[in-house]
């Protein structure tokens, strides 16, 4: 399989479906595992890394996942391919920029990936759209069991699964939920969310943006403690308390915008429509920032029945005045596509060759104008 087979469309977990989809983009569970009888990677020679890579690859490739599986040799992949894999959340930035023999095993529908020789020998993850942590956990557990039949994991009775960094020790689980929180940002309440997360020892970081910057109001919230608390307890806490609470706060902020700050809301949506519909040069950051407002508008229409003048224009009328046949407006599917397909590596991979930033900005603006015009 080639990366261009998947780069032309969004993946399943970014489809905007699943429980609480107006706020929750996706759920992800990641496990860190290491092979018994081997050193951790920082002490491994290139040949030891190659041996680990081969052993794990041979175990992972025949896994029955109900989907085609393919392997990418990350150390040999071109820079653009690596950037694409990072944008797609198929590998971490750390894995893209790492050194030595390393790779990734990917299910074609992208619900499963396994990084080999990242920080630990093995990092497996399962992703699903919306709030579906229990479903992720169930699938993850089956896959982990299947792998464990073939290899011996480094495990201690006291510390559980042993990891290269003591902060991942124990269950080795990282539960992450991607959230879209534009109304909390717009109503200046996002700090409250950060503070509450910090008090609960949860990590929050931005998505798609550079570093910790949250471009497009996307945030990822994850557990930090992995020792002394079971997988089931962490997942239950996220699924039954933390995430529903945050979703309620975001919805309350959206209601507040509708009831008390209608002009602010309509101004943001109308400006976003005008800029995205007319720009001839647009950076990735600006596109994410503006698309976020459209995404919120459409979701407020679909989930809350909101129908302000701007939302009405966005959701029910064509962006092209001369196209009288089109009455559907912009769909959430279009916005989701634009979020992902206009990221720098996606643009270039789909274009067929590397582009300098200015040409990327031209191409991005062109794609956005054309997609918004056709709904």
């Amino acid at each position: 399989m080639k990366l261009t087979d998947i780069s032309g469309d969004i993946n399943e977990w970014f489809s905007g479906s699943g429980p609480l989809a107006d706020v929750v983009i996706s759920s992800r569970i990641r496990l860190a595992r290491n092979l018994a009888g081997h050193k951790f990677l920082s002490r491994c020679s290139a040949s030891e890394r190659s041996a680990i890579l081969k052993e794990l690859r041979d175990v992972l490739m025949p896994l029955e996942l109900g989907d085609k599986i393919f392997y990418i040799s990350v150390d040999k992949a071109p820079v653009l391919d690596r950037s694409f894999l990072v944008e797609r959340y198929l590998i971490s930035r750390h894995h893209a920029e790492g050194r030595g023999p390393r790779g990734v095993v990917i299910a074609q529908r992208e619900f499963f990936t396994a990084m080999i020789n990242e920080e630990d020998h093995l990092r497996i993850q399962v992703l699903k759209a919306g709030l579906q942590l229990s479903q992720c956990a169930e699938q993850m557990n089956h896959i982990d069991d299947a792998i464990e039949q073939k290899v011996d994991y480094a495990f201690s009775p006291r510390y559980g699964y042993l990891t290269a960094c003591p902060t991942n020790l124990g269950t080795g689980i990282r539960v992450s939920v991607m959230l879209h929180l534009p109304a909390l940002k717009m109503t200046d309440q996002i700090e409250k969310f950060f503070n509450a997360a910090r008090d609960m020892n949860l990590a929050v970081r931005g998505l798609f943006g550079e570093g910790t910057e949250a471009a497009g109001d996307f945030y990822q919230i994850s557990n930090q403690a992995t020792l002394g608390v079971s997988e089931a307890d962490i997942i239950s806490q996220f699924e039954n308390a933390i995430i529903p609470d945050i979703a309620e706060y975001e919805k309350a902020a959206r209601t507040l915008l509708l009831s008390k700050q209608l002009d602010v809301l309509d101004d943001k949506i109308s400006r976003a429509m005008a800029l995205l519909g007319n720009a001839h040069l647009i950076s990735s950051q600006e596109a994410l920032f503006l698309l976020s407002h459209l995404r919120m508008g459409i979701n407020m229409h679909e989930y809350m029945g909101a129908s302000t003048p701007a939302i009405k224009r966005l959701c029910t009328q064509s962006q092209q005045d001369d196209d009288t046949d089109k009455t559907g407006g912009v769909s959430i599917a279009t916005i989701n596509r634009l979020f992902m397909l206009t990221l720098p590596a996606h643009l270039q991979l789909n274009y067929g060759k590397p582009l300098d930033p200015t040409h990327r900005d031209i191409l991005r603006a062109k794609i956005i104008r054309s997609e918004l015009a056709s709904g």
Binding site: N34, A36, H38, K39, F40, L41, S42, R43, E119, N141, D144, D145, E148, Q149, D152, Y153, A154, F155, S156, P157, R158, Y159, G160, Y161, L162, A164, C165, P166, T167, L169, G170, T171, I173, N201, Q224, A225, T226, L227, G228, V229, S230, E231, A232, D233
Partner: protein, 165 residues
Amino acid sequence: MRCQICKENEATIHLTEITDGLRNEMHLCELCAEEEGITIKSQVSINELLSSLLAAKPTDEELLGDSERKLSCPRCGFTLEQFHKKGLLGCPYDYEVFDKILSVLIEKAHDGQTVHRGKVPSKTPTQMKSQIELLDLRRQLDAAVKSEDYEKAAKLRDKINQIEN
């Protein structure tokens, strides 16, 4: 307390020697201790030193004195200095070698938790499985005692005894 030898300076070194079951205590100042050929380093184990330094929130330099650098893993050759640079360990056995210092870090990183709860590989030998169960029961017993739930504590204690016997 004054030094037993010079009877002038404050005694800062306290030694307890037990020879043939007889306990002998000495309280000396640093100068007299040096004259007696007693050095501080030889009396304190490296691990104790590390953990006491760690408890006092040391800076990077304080944590990595000469003696700490000497401790290395017999399997992978890893040292604490390397851990301090990268934050990553060299091999699973390091968790045993550097247990004293790591256990403090681990407790801090995991909200005060020190024992695994959750999934256990299905291939784990039965003996190890009961060891894991015991660790978990003891953790629950501690929690029950702390929250003064003595009824639960008694049940847990009985269960622990049952497994141990």
